[in-house]
Symmetry: C3
Subunit: 350 residues, 3 copies
Amino acid sequence: MKSKAGEGNFFEDFRVGQRFRHATPKTLQAGDISVYGALYGSRFALNQSEEFARSLGYAAAPAEDLLVFHMVFGKTVADISLNAIANLGLAECHFLQPVFVGDTLTAETEVIGLKEQSSGKSGIVYVRSKGVNQRGETVLDYIRWVMVRMRKQDSPQGTASIPRLEEEVSGERLAEGSPAINVQAWDWAASGSMQRHEDYEIGERIDHVDGTTVEEAEHMMAARLYHNTARVHFNELNERSGRYGRRIVYGGHVMSIARALSFNGMANAFHIAAINSGRHVAPVFAGATIFAWSLITDKRRLRGREDVGALRVITRATRDLPTQDFPTKAAGEHDPGVVLEMDYWVLIPI
Amino acid sequence: MKSKAGEGNFFEDFRVGQRFRHATPKTLQAGDISVYGALYGSRFALNQSEEFARSLGYAAAPAEDLLVFHMVFGKTVADISLNAIANLGLAECHFLQPVFVGDTLTAETEVIGLKEQSSGKSGIVYVRSKGVNQRGETVLDYIRWVMVRMRKQDSPQGTASIPRLEEEVSGERLAEGSPAINVQAWDWAASGSMQRHEDYEIGERIDHVDGTTVEEAEHMMAARLYHNTARVHFNELNERSGRYGRRIVYGGHVMSIARALSFNGMANAFHIAAINSGRHVAPVFAGATIFAWSLITDKRRLRGREDVGALRVITRATRDLPTQDFPTKAAGEHDPGVVLEMDYWVLIPI
Amino acid sequence: MKSKAGEGNFFEDFRVGQRFRHATPKTLQAGDISVYGALYGSRFALNQSEEFARSLGYAAAPAEDLLVFHMVFGKTVADISLNAIANLGLAECHFLQPVFVGDTLTAETEVIGLKEQSSGKSGIVYVRSKGVNQRGETVLDYIRWVMVRMRKQDSPQGTASIPRLEEEVSGERLAEGSPAINVQAWDWAASGSMQRHEDYEIGERIDHVDGTTVEEAEHMMAARLYHNTARVHFNELNERSGRYGRRIVYGGHVMSIARALSFNGMANAFHIAAINSGRHVAPVFAGATIFAWSLITDKRRLRGREDVGALRVITRATRDLPTQDFPTKAAGEHDPGVVLEMDYWVLIPI
């Protein structure tokens, strides 16, 4: 009798055009905001204060953008990446609707590309996933690609269908997830900084100063909150004999730490509009202290918007390496301390 | 002057027929759902999604059954088992009403049996406890028995009054805690599995595959959430010189881990209707990786119910022992890896 | 280009009369109550049960007083004590309004005194801070003083302006934060004790019996929940080469542990009306087991109040030292095990 538990999908199980509607839909609870707050300590006023949010014209304080991302991403794991060897990339990630407490999110995925590896042991699966709320509105979509084990190794079929990816999110979509806000009501003392769009320059580097040490209990609680079931995060017994000898921290946990740290220097960057790319360039383990710094790589006004503008930012997170010297890759190699490179657009008052 | 802090009850303090109304009533908060979610990662759609719950006819997403159990159990500890040597058993546990965010639960207990141990150092206390909501409705009741220290050792009084316990919960009560549901609306993609009552066979064994490692912070946060004040869970200084040399994980924490893991293979078993027995056959300590597997031991249709049927399940949890070989007790002995045997009824769509 | 991240204020940056409105306002979420509950396990019925709270005349269950304190205190850290060497004292702390889920708190501070240290390396900053809700009502105010580094050492300016502090909170203000309650409705079984104002005697000592071991994940989650950004709590890499070689637990975390433990013996002390002083006399690190005991130092009836009276209490918390012998300072020295001395007023039914 075949076990009902499922073993996840292997490379051979995927077809271009295949669609998944993932388990389990989740209603965002007021408590999810609090657990997220306790795990990251994020201090962006829009997400922390109902009063601040309403003064700008929001119906309520929206959930942090990355919490929404993790909730959608987490649901896709059981179908897409349970047999993954590595998460290779993230692109064209748009935040399209604010998500509020009480909204119920479902995740859906379409396979958009497949590429067998020459090793004959694995292949790359390209997917476009989206999160949908209870009204059927897409709140988030993104492309990711992941290297997935083959069930039967050494049975090459020559599969190769690689989608074309945008290097950056198109300008038109940047403002979609952010309603026009009443920027005159922006409370600069409450938000923690006087800096606005015009105060940032292309090429500017910002050390986010603080560091935070990751605990096993924290990254596991985070991943569970997101319904992320990737085994490497939870199963110490198994990982002890695995690649790194121990549990690996969910990469998104590091993204959220970096975002929370970025309050130091980017306090008014109230909304992540889009992620152009996100790469986990080295694994993180409990006990590491995470730091982050950001490079402003572009600035843009948004058509028809006099309230907010966009900044393109590359935030790099490090482990056990303070960031006052802005560490990055050198000579084609990443600094061993750099663990995350996230290239994204934030909105900030003009 | 006698200290006001109380020392808990000893065996001599109990009388058959004695009743307790326990401190502290607790209103179930939206955040309790989230903390529970972060601690266990349970993915049953009924509890996670307000939309899914309402589609079936529930007024809202009910709390996980075991969260309710722990909240009631926890309140009884200070009066019943503060001086316990061991939790010996659990029986006749019925989940009688869904519990929703906003409900306030109170716990009550009646002593139903007492049995002095021949050692003269302790005795077994049998109690029936129940959880009551703010409308006076019993949401849960159960019998447990626990070995409790005597205050004055070696003063035997020959107390023996052992209640008769049912080996299994009677069929009539199985459906009580579950309103008739609109099973036509069941969203099988959302729930994560196509398997229904007819797909399970008596004798079937299901490996729940995943393992999750327990952290001290997690089991203590769980026990505190439940108002469980048993000292062995919290006081490392004291336990260092105790029986095991370290803190012991609350047994109910393992029950909830096992339930969450059982989603792999029993995703549509949306409700625990009753627990016939629960035995913690070995202690669990932080650092252990918990696995679980289940044996289907009975199937039953419920009188007048065309929506759901019942499965009787024995779920065994292990520590540091994967469960693909379905470990159980051998030759009267438990496998050293088996830590929990829970015999219970779940409801699942027909 | 000056970094936007800010480096916090140094002693030279403060002026008497200077005012701060701190980032980030925070709406109290239902989940904050749950996370707080999971971190401390507090069992005071007023805060745990909506039913209990409403029976007394409260509109809803108010947040724990110390949760409110921490939320206000935490916001002041980035402006006041980011460059602090030590938190020296707390005084004249009044709890003036119950705070409910949905209330949004903002923190404000006025500098009321400055005193350069003879070392020329630091100075003491005295501040009065307050928490304000969304209706502009002050819910909490307090004075604290903190030793802050100088930016440029050895540049003495002879600054000295020391405010006059009250040794205890004035009686008139003790009842301000507690509406008159319907004490006839007080449910003594629910609250966990029959003891009322008349049952406590001046000079009485109460061992709170239980001990709870602190984990890194817990104290960091707590501090993040409070928006407390003091680096010593989070950055293991940095603290490894710091004063103690490791992260230091936020002192307020110990206050909340002590308050939760004090339920054993003071279960009906439902409200902290004021804190006369709070001193963290030794640091606490993860792994320590915290115990607490209390000394009743005064009793007072409150003018015009027939429902509740006040008890003045000194609660001492220890690390790795059980408190049945009521450890305190001896010969001018603190017992090495004593970590906290908190002198405060609680309200309790008459």
